[in-house]
């Protein structure tokens, strides 16, 4: 395949893949790609050949021929079989990546919220459990505001140690990360190009996003759904760390939270609404 065909290798433009199922997606893409290249050469070859061979000549006539059912059926059935194969193989991968009953047990659970224009993350903190918030308690949704996007109940002790980060997050390598994502204003889309992850986050509901990354390093998170003028800048960074580094990072955050915590009443929602309005 190298030599001649490498000229057409658009696959080389992919950013490096770092997730487990990303490899499957890439190879599925490659399969469809090479099938397409083949069809492209087949059809364009036939087209070009006919155009040259049957170009106009005053002493010939077009052939009065209305078509042939056997041929018709052949070129209906063959593509159907090919497409069916692609469809069935695709569906297998699709079920494993997106079906909710196929989501693996979480090693790390993180909440993520999109807002105009940035991303916020919530880690369960030292006790490994979230306090009451808009995800685990629907009634807490009314606490959601620009400064408290997760609708955290500040009175719930389980939530005292929850860690919030803004526009950056950290995940351990080789672990099943399960995120629940939502939005507080408009649609956004959680896009990790290197991990081949994309999921729109929709206000009013929580989406499950999971992945398992095998390479450490710093990467980018983008928003892939138009969400206003600042859509292009809705960027965040994430770092994939070894388990020990990750634990260290989490401990440091826990310490910060502990130091900063002074019991405060929930911030008033109206002031925040005004603040958001002025941002738009």
């Amino acid at each position: 395949m190298d030599g001649f065909f490498s000229v057409f290798d658009m696959l080389a433009w992919f950013p490096e893949n770092i997730s487990t199922f990303g490899q499957e997606l890439d190879s599925l893409f490659a399969i469809i790609y090479w099938v397409s290249v083949a069809i492209f050469f087949l059809t364009f070859g036939v087209l070009g050949y006919f155009l040259v061979k049957y170009r106009y000549s005053p002493d010939r006539r077009g052939y009065n021929y209305h078509g042939n059912n056997v041929v018709e059926i052949t070129w209906t059935v063959l593509p159907t079989l090919l497409f069916a194969a692609i469809g069935l193989y695709s569906d297998d991968i699709w079920e494993r990546t997106k079906y909710s009953k196929r989501v693996p047990t979480a090693d790390v659970e993180i909440l993520v919220l999109g807002k105009q224009y940035g991303w916020v993350f919530l880690y369960p903190g030292a006790d490994g459990a979230f306090g009451r918030n808009a995800h685990n308690d629907r009634t807490a949704r009314s606490l959601m505001s620009a400064s408290n996007p997760f609708g955290r109940d500040t009175a719930d002790p389980a939530g005292f140690d929850d860690v919030v980060t803004e526009n950056q997050f950290v995940v351990p390598v080789n672990a099943n990360v399960v995120m629940r994502g939502s939005s507080i204003d408009v649609l956004h889309s959680f896009f990790l190009p290197h991990a081949r992850v994309k999921q729109d986050v929709v206000p009013g509901t929580w989406m499950t996003i999971w992945y398992n990354l095998f390479k450490t390093g710093k990467y980018e998170l983008a928003c892939a759904e138009l969400c206003g003028g600042g859509h292009y800048g809705m960027r965040a960074e994430y770092e994939v760390m070894s388990r020990t580094d990750y634990d260290k990072w989490l401990d440091a955050r826990n310490a910060e939270v502990k130091a900063a915590r002074t019991p405060q009443p929930a911030p008033a929602a109206t002031a925040d609404t005004a603040a958001v309005a002025s941002l738009r």
């Binding site: 629907r138 949704r141 009013g204 509901t205 929580w206």
Partner: protein, 104 residues
């Protein structure tokens, strides 16, 4: 085009009274009958189902008699069948396959 089928006035009246009666039946079914929950289907779903089923009967009568679908070129029926089919597709996708239940 619709002259050639005897006197149609009696059937108009028949349809009219049927419609009136079915309307009352709809109200009665909604107001007086409380359907119990059957298996996983809540009672209120049955209520609305009965209401809509009666509506379908009424509408069929209107279309076939008042709107002459019964007497006209059968081709015209496709102008009803196809939208109904598409409505079912839309409704089915939205209601039975979509997981609205997990939405808050």
């Amino acid at each position: 085009m619709s002259h050639d089928h005897g006197n149609i006035l009696p059937s108009y009246l028949k349809v009219f009274f049927t419609l009136m009666a079915l309307t009352l039946l709809t109200v009665a079914a909604a107001k007086l009958v409380h359907f119990p929950d059957v298996a996983f289907i809540p009672g209120y779903v049955l209520n609305i189902t009965v209401g809509l089923a009666i509506a379908v009967v009424k509408v069929t009568a209107v279309m076939y008699i008042f709107m002459h679908l019964k007497f006209d070129n059968p081709m015209l029926r496709f102008f009803v069948y196809i939208p109904v089919f598409l409505f079912l597709v839309l409704g089915f996708a939205l209601n039975f396959l979509e997981k609205w239940t997990y939405l808050h």
